[in-house]
Amino acid sequence: MNQQGLRFEKLKIASFDFTCCEGCQLQLANRESTLADFLRLIDIRNFREISSEQHDDYDIALIEGSISRSDEVERLLAIRRQAKVLVAFGTCACFGGVNSLKNRVSGEAAVSEVYGEIKVETLPVRRISEVVKVDLSIPGCPVAKEEVERIIISLVTGSLVTLPKYPVCVECKAALNTCLFELGEICLGPITRAGCHAVCTTGKTPCLGCRGPAEEINMEAFLHLVKERGLSRSDLQEKLAFYNAFDAFTP
């Protein structure tokens, strides 16, 4: 591809999934109207879910899911050795995601609850950056295809890749939503990174923070406001813990 004397190379991409629902990978096949164009930007070297062709000469590795077994650690380390750019793709990869809720109990307790006597290996759930160096994070449960597309285009054309630094409220207000706090609910919008077009609050369900903290959030003021409005503390904790994205801020 050529433009203005700038040559664009297709991105050699591979997609790998770990402990997750594979919903983020699936987003790559969404936005069908631009899918053909999108696929022209990338050269899929390895993508088990949609293709049987597998090569190991990729530059960019999209890592979906969190890490909860030792074979996953090894697979991930091998990918890190190959990839020039390793992308934590989706909330599970970026923060551990809902899977982290399992960490509330011990591995043995979890196994015996689900499998009884059978021995199944499981480690405490970790986010990708706890195992290998991450070059780029694309949060979201699931990731927003529009954002993914924009980022892939940036990588192809060599523009800077950025995520919004401000919180979800900005997008929520632009959607003319009634603030959920006004409806008596706790919403994590004021502390969560925007970029999702406030999809949850537009559907009138509180933001659970899947995109992780916005830049330089004012957690103290947020906790204060929840208290001031007499909202439930356990509800707040359940929400903050939901995707494990606010562990650094949780009191």
């Binding site: 022209r40 930007l41 919180p167 900005v170 207000k173 003319l176 009634t178 003021a221 406001l225 001031e228």
Partner: protein
């Protein structure tokens, strides 16, 4: 300006005809909040029955009909090693019903900022010219302070403005279009009695304000109080969420983003309404942030609203609707912040030049 009297029933017929024939927006109830109060927004309406005539205040202003939250400024089409740029100022005609006096004042302020300077905004003008604005007076809510800002009445900036004088509306007709439409309906010239009722109505509105902010000399106070601890105090509460600016009828700051389309054959330059409260508003390449603290940024918004900038001849641009105060989760509102500043100013002037106590 031409004044007419119209019965409420006839007025509704008129609005219905207008609303059905054009793409129209008006106040509608969208929710009931946890205190049991109705929440209104300007929403699409297709018949007069959908309009909440007795609405109080919309949670978000009507600004976005003129300054969309996101708007394409131009588009580049690439071909070979060249490109073409397309700019279009087109806007579809829209009827906007039910704006309050302060909302229309806000539009007049935006006109000042965006049309009267050296660089008039054609994008804005296209929308402004194609929007048929119908205003409606109302009794202030407990937290409205537009009277303090002198925006509880508005002399211009609308096509039609109606004041509620009982069984009838007192119409101020400010455009030939509105006048022509009204020809098809039964109206009459105001009589002495109706003029009195209008005066009474205005008096009632004017005397119903329960929130007042003393804004005399505020620009000067703001200049002096640049380093006031008040900014830190309120800044510490601020979530930097931008809600205040998004709902405000006059906040117009923005950001421009450009991106390629997936086919790499074109790109779009888009404008997005931004807020000076957002963390990277004044951040430059290399990461330096000229306003790193919440308080710095909050202060800036108050400067813009209550001191004004050159583009607006250093006039205050806040109209006193208190949408920002109502929407702010942290409980930050113009009244409290300004009162705090005044207090700060008062204590400091007394300590600097305390006059001898009178006996």
């Amino acid at each position: 300006m031409i004044y007419k009297i119209i019965s409420k029933a006839e007025f509704k017929r008129f609005i219905d005809a207008l609303v059905r024939s054009n793409s129209s927006f008006g106040p509608r109830m969208v929710d009931t909040d946890s205190r049991g109060e109705a929440v209104y927004q300007f929403q699409p309406v297709s018949s007069v029955d959908e309009i909440a005539f007795d609405y109080t205040r919309t949670a978000s202003s009507a600004k976005h009909f003129f300054l969309p939250f996101r708007q394409e400024l131009s588009r580049f089409h690439f071909h070979d090693d060249d490109w073409d740029q397309k700019v279009s100022y087109e806007a579809d005609p829209v009827v906007l019903f039910g704006l309050r006096a302060c909302d229309i004042s806000a539009l007049n302020i935006l006109d000042d900022v965006l049309l009267n300077g050296h660089f008039p905004s054609a994008y804005y003008l296209a929308k402004r010219k194609n929007t048929f604005v119908i205003g409606m007076d109302h009794l202030p809510l407990p937290d409205c302070f537009c009277k303090s800002m002198n925006h509880h009445t508005v002399p211009t900036g609308f096509n039609l403005f109606c004041s509620d004088i009982g069984d009838e509306y007192y119409l101020a007709i400010n455009s030939s279009k509105a006048f022509n439409f009204l020809r098809e309906f039964e109206t009459r010239d105001p009589q002495y009695d109706e003029n009195c009722r209008l005066a009474e109505r205005r008096k009632l509105i004017s005397s119903s304000f329960r929130t007042e902010i003393d804004v005399t000399g505020l620009p000067a106070i703001l200049d002096i109080e640049f380093d006031s601890p008040v900014w830190k105090k309120w800044g510490d509460k601020c979530l930097s969420c931008g809600t205040c600016a998004m709902v405000c009828p006059t906040c117009y700051c923005y950001s421009v983003e450009e991106s390629f389309e997936s086919d790499l054959q074109s790109s779009s330059r888009q404008k997005r309404l931004y807020s000076c409260n957002l963390v990277d508003f004044a951040a430059v390449a290399g990461g330096h942030n000229f306003r790193p603290k919440n308080g710095d940024r909050l202060k800036y918004r108050y400067y813009h609203q209550h001191r004004g900038f050159a583009e607006n001849a250093n006039q205050q641009i806040c109209v006193g609707c208190n949408r920002c105060g109502k929407a702010c989760l942290a409980g930050i509102n113009p009244k409290d912040v300004i009162n705090d500043l005044r207090l700060e100013k008062d204590t400091c002037t007394t300590s600097v030049s305390s006059s001898p106590a009178r006996s």
